[in-house]
Amino acid sequence: MSVAQRAWGAVPDSVKESDRQLIAGVLLFTYLLYILAQTFLAIANNAAILPAVANSLQNITFLIAVYAIMALALNLHWGYTGLFNIGIAGFMAVGVYSMSILAAPATGSPPGLGLPIPVAVVGAVAITALVGGIAALPALQLDADYLAIVTVGFSEIIRLVLNASYFAGTVQDPEASGYNVVDIFGIQFGTGGGQGINTPTSSPADFLYSTTSLGDLLYGPSGDPNALGSAVYAAAESVGVNSSVVNGATYSFFLLLVVVTLYYVLLVRIGNSPFGRVLKAIREDELVAQSLGKDTRWFKVKVFMVGCALMGLGGILWQGSFGFVNPNTFRPIVTFYIFTALIVGGAGSNTGSVIGGAVFAAFLFEGPRQLARIVEVLVTSVFGSLPSPTTFYAAVVSLNPLAWLGYTIDNVSTLKFVFLGAVLVYLMQNRSDGLLGHRKEIAASIDLSDRTPRKRESAAADGGESDE
């Protein structure tokens, strides 16, 4: 970590102070590192460089984008308002499942409502907000650690209910013994139970590259690429990049450039306003906010609902984009990933949330695997081959450091979690403000230090109104 700190110290202050430059800088640095690593791996494996790099970049962009999205949504709850919600996975599940059920055809297995996809997405976000509101009403009076237990319990309840065969909708014969279609006033649907459920599309970029009619836009494109798609695919093909990488890259960059930006702008606007100021005051001392005339309970319910809606949408854009989900996707560990991302960047800061999402995705989540691949290539090229012991015991008693390394590399996906846990502990002990340190993000729509009165500053913005 001290290396990271020294590297951080070398970053010019001007970059640190400008949030946009900082985010761009971190992304650029990450991309550069990944390009170098993938180029190296491609050369070592005698593979074509460009496709490998392109694939890796689209993958890492996707991860950065989704973790940034989720960290921003969580920042609203925890960073701003101090609501310790560790039920994120559950709210994501509500979003993804609502969308899938709303959009699934009535004849499908499980059956759904057959609504157009955009309607399903909007409906699902609204449902998530509603579920959040229902959960919030009684729970928000609790202390932070009680709220944590309630939300994680709630999220597990959601997962277990989705997992139950009771509502699966897979046995559709009303006479059959395991009949399990949910029927509310004639509207029939099911959750798919433990088998999971199909989401409307497995390739969201098709909406751009294959849409030829309104119907495609509403119910998901099927079939051949449109003019834009054909042109882009052909161009990519000419440099050896296949269409699935193009689709992935398109969607990933859409998430990063459009969705993350929208979330960021929304969050900054919420934060830098009198509304955000009340949220901050609730975090600091709720009784003080009340004593100054703020109906804190209502603020909390509102912010909980908005945050849950953002989490639901984040879930849809993330887990809902693979064509299929099952309840195990929404285990509490997903919540902890998102928390780690936010804590790495620094809770309370929107810029920190985005950077935390990027650092978490690129270095904590995906980094160990890439590092292991590079080490493996290096070691193999020096020693010829790397032993791969089957058990920990076999590795230890072999007394062969290469075998130890081989076992470690084989199990790097497990070790990653140990590493994540250690990072969480380290941050809590030493840098609870996150990598960026403490950031002053003032909750106001204007620069409070600037004392220029309004009339001289901008006559246009003056609606002729005075404060009450």
Binding site: A139, I149, F154, E156, I157, T391, F392, V418, F419, V425
Partner: protein, 378 residues
């Protein structure tokens, strides 16, 4: 508390907390329903069965027994969670993984002893990795079980003390939330360190088929109970009485109760805080580890996430009993265990855990001091 006060309290409760009143009515309904079912009296109204039905006493008995078994384990493990919650002021999300750690260390020991006493020829590596064929049972090698219980406690204690030294002790002055987050980090690291060594596969550890069983007659059938279930019940009950003795009769126990009540006051009055904290980890860790060993003994399979899967149930038990109360944690665990199994009378088994978690949330919302709150225990 006199009768009039109880009555007015009850009335106020109903007025101020209509949800609690509703819950009471629901519980009463379920109780009456259960009694009618056991008596095989279905009550129909216009052709629809509204209450009662049929339920074999033996089936219900088995639910109760299963519930008691889960409940004792949850209660045993809950003691440590409750104590650390009150003495160190944070919800330890790593507690479930102490249970797992205990289970693994205990079963390694049981395998080594079991192989030795049974004279089984197995490479030591396969014994240490708990890979050898399932061979241990309380019948064939009771010594292995005893040693396993001791080592399970020891393993969890050492882990808990080590983690306290490197993680929690440097954070004593931080608030409950940083500690809670750190404990999530500890939980992840500990669980996957176990996976790194033992892998994710679930393994059968007890010798199946050779365990003696008794059948408890119920009139309309029998409730089967095997030796491992009996061992679990006896061990858990003995340990619970041991804790009772420790808290009531020893100086350490008194200091711990004082700490749980008021940390600052305890410090002022010269109770050595760090020593009490260490004792808390030792007692809580040991009980968690042993609980892990026992549940594996009963279920017969061991995997890296048994403790994590139990954690929310343990939380539920602790919350039900009132955070900070040792007896509450035991009683709450047993109640949660029994409730989650008896609920199968009404709901499909998919929802047993849902029911337990719902109870936990309702208690936190409407009676955060716990079901037995207000009664001073420890």
């Amino acid at each position: 508390m006199d009768v009039a006060e109880t009555y007015s309290d009850g009335r106020r409760l109903l007025v101020e907390r209509p949800a609690v009143g509703l819950l009471g009515v629901a519980l009463l309904y379920l109780f009456v329903d259960l009694m009618l079912r056991l008596a095989n009296v279905p009550v129909e109204l216009m052709g629809v069965e509204v209450i009662g039905g049929t339920l074999a006493v033996s089936t219900f008995g088995r639910f109760l027994l299963d519930g008691l078994i889960v409940g004792l384990v949850v209660g045993l493990a809950g003691v440590g969670l409750s104590m650390t919650y009150s003495i160190l002021n944070f919800a330890n999300f790593a507690h479930g993984d102490y249970v797992t750690t205990g289970a693994f260390s205990g079963w390694i020991a049981a395998y080594l002893v079991g192989a030795f006493t049974l004279g089984v020829e197995e490479p030591i590596g396969r014994l240490l990795m708990i890979q050898a064929p399932s061979l241990v049972s309380a019948f064939s090698s009771p010594l292995a079980i005893v040693v396993g219980i001791i080592l399970a406690g020891l393993g969890a204690v050492l882990t808990a003390l080590f983690l306290d030294r490197i993680v929690y002790r440097p954070m004593r002055d931080k608030g409950g939330i940083p500690l809670l987050i750190a404990s999530i980090g500890v939980a992840l690291a500990l669980r996957y360190a176990i996976v790194f060594i033992f892998g994710t596969g679930s393994r059968g550890v007890t010798a199946t088929g050779s365990i003696p069983e008794v059948a408890i007659p119920t009139g309309d059938g029998t409730i089967p109970m095997n030796l491992h279930e009996g061992t679990l019940i006896v061990a858990a009950v003995v340990l619970m009485f041991g804790i009772h003795f420790l808290l009531q009769r020893t100086k350490l126990g008194k200091a711990m109760r004082a700490m749980a009540d008021n940390k600052d006051l305890a410090q002022v009055t010269g109770i050595p805080t760090e020593r009490v904290i260490r004792a808390t980890w030792i007692i809580g860790g040991a009980l968690a580890g042993i609980a892990g060993f026992l549940i594996v003994l009963e279920r017969g399979t061991l995997s890296f996430n048994i403790g994590w899967r139990l954690l929310l149930l343990i939380f539920a038990g602790v919350i039900l009993g009132g955070i900070g109360s040792v007896y509450g944690a035991m009683a709450g665990g047993i109640v949660i265990g029994i409730a989650s199994r008896v609920s199968l009378v009404w709901i499909p088994s998919d929802f047993a855990r849902v029911a337990a978690f719902s109870v936990m949330i309702l208690v936190l919302l409407y009676r955060p001091e716990g079901l037995f709150g207000g009664v001073k225990t420890a």
